[in-house]
Symmetry: C2
Subunit: 235 residues, 2 copies
Amino acid sequence: MQSSELQIKPPPKKAVVLVSGGLDSATVLAMAVSQGFACHAVSFDYGQRHKAELVAAAALVQAMGAVEHKVIKFDLAGIGGSALTDASLAVPEHPTQGIPVTYVPARNTVFLALALGWAEVLQAHDIFIGINAVDYSGYPDCRPEYIKAFQVLANLATRAGVEGQPTMIRTPLLSLSKAQIIQEGTRLGVDYSRTVSCYTADDQGRACGVCDACRLRMAGFQGAGLPDPTHYRPI
Amino acid sequence: MQSSELQIKPPPKKAVVLVSGGLDSATVLAMAVSQGFACHAVSFDYGQRHKAELVAAAALVQAMGAVEHKVIKFDLAGIGGSALTDASLAVPEHPTQGIPVTYVPARNTVFLALALGWAEVLQAHDIFIGINAVDYSGYPDCRPEYIKAFQVLANLATRAGVEGQPTMIRTPLLSLSKAQIIQEGTRLGVDYSRTVSCYTADDQGRACGVCDACRLRMAGFQGAGLPDPTHYRPI
C-alpha cells in the first residue's frame, strides 16, 4: 500500500447558493459545484407570480448535485409594491425607464439575510448569488456597491464575523454579460432548457417572450451564438 | 373666520415600527407615536417559542394607536441554530459567556430587511427598532456598528435611496440602560404589564423569571425604582 492511499481528503467547504430557478442562478450553482464546494441550495417562496421557477429550481438542484435544497417561505406579497407579487400591477411588455415595476422592495436584502442566517447555522463561510450588473433590469440591489455594503454588514451581523471568520458574498456573474454567462454555463454543462427566467411563466414554465427577463435572455443566447432552448408558450 | 382655521395640516410622516411585544419595542412605539409619526407596526412570526409575545404585540399596537399592524410569517425555525426556535436547545437559566444560544442567526438583518421593503412600499422614510446595546444579551446584531452598516445598506438597496430619499434607521434606545428605558416608557404611558419579554413565556404570557430576558427586565424595574408589573408563573 502506498502512503498516498492513506491520505484522508478534507471534507469539501460548504457554500450556501441562492437558486431561483433562473438562468443566472443555475450558472452560479454550476460554478460553485465546479469549484468543489458542497452546495446547500436555497430558494424563496415569497408570493411571486412565477411559481414555475421554484419547480425549475428543485429540478436543477437535483440534476446539478447540490447537497440539499431548502425552500424558505415568506410573504412579500403581503407587503405589495411590485408587479412580481401583486396581480393588480401588470408586468411591462416593453422596456421602461428607471427602476421597473417588477422591482421587489428589498428583495435581495431579505434573501441574503436569510442565506446569511442559514450559512451561520451550517458553518458555511461562502454565499453565492447570481447578481449581475451588466445585462440586468436596473434594480438597485443588483449593483456592486450594494453587494459591498452587504459584505460589511454580514461580518458585523453574525457570530462568525465577530469571531473573525468572515462570510464571503460571492457574485461570480457581477461583471459578465448575459452572453458570457450563458457561454460559461454551457461549458459547465448547465441545461438551460430547465431554467425559467420569464416573469409571467405559466404552470409548465413556458415563457412569454416579451417581458424584460425574456428579452435579456433571448439577447444573451443570440450574443453567445448558441441556440435558445427556452420553451415559449404560443401567443 | 380667521385665516388660521383654513390651514390644512400636512399628513403625519409615516414610520415603520418593529414591535415584538416586549418591553423595548413597546417603549419605541410610544416614542414614535409621541413624536407624531403615523406608526405602521410590524411583528414577525418566525417560529419563535414564545408566541405569547405576538399576542402581546397585537394588544399593545391597538392600545397605543398605531395606524396598522402587519404580522409577517416566515420560517427561521427551518434554519435552526437557536434555542429560541429549536425546542431541542434549552434556554439557559443562568448567565453565559460570549454570544448566547438564544441568538437567532441574522435575525435583525431579516427583520430590518422586511421592514425596509414595507417602508419602501408605504413611502415611509423612518424605521424604528428597539435595539439596545447597554443591558442586552450580547447579540452581534444589536451593536451600534451593525446599525450603521445597515443604514448604509438601506440607502443602496432601495428605490428611495437611489432617488435621494434616505430611509433612517432609528434606534432611540441604543444607548439607554434598561432602567432608563422603563422610566421613559412609563412617562409616555406604556403599560408594561401588557409586554412579554420572557424567552419561555407560557400561553398566557407569564414569565419564567430566570432566563436572560427576565433577569435584565427585573433589574431594569429595580434600577428605575418602579414596581415590576410582570406576570410571573408559579415555579
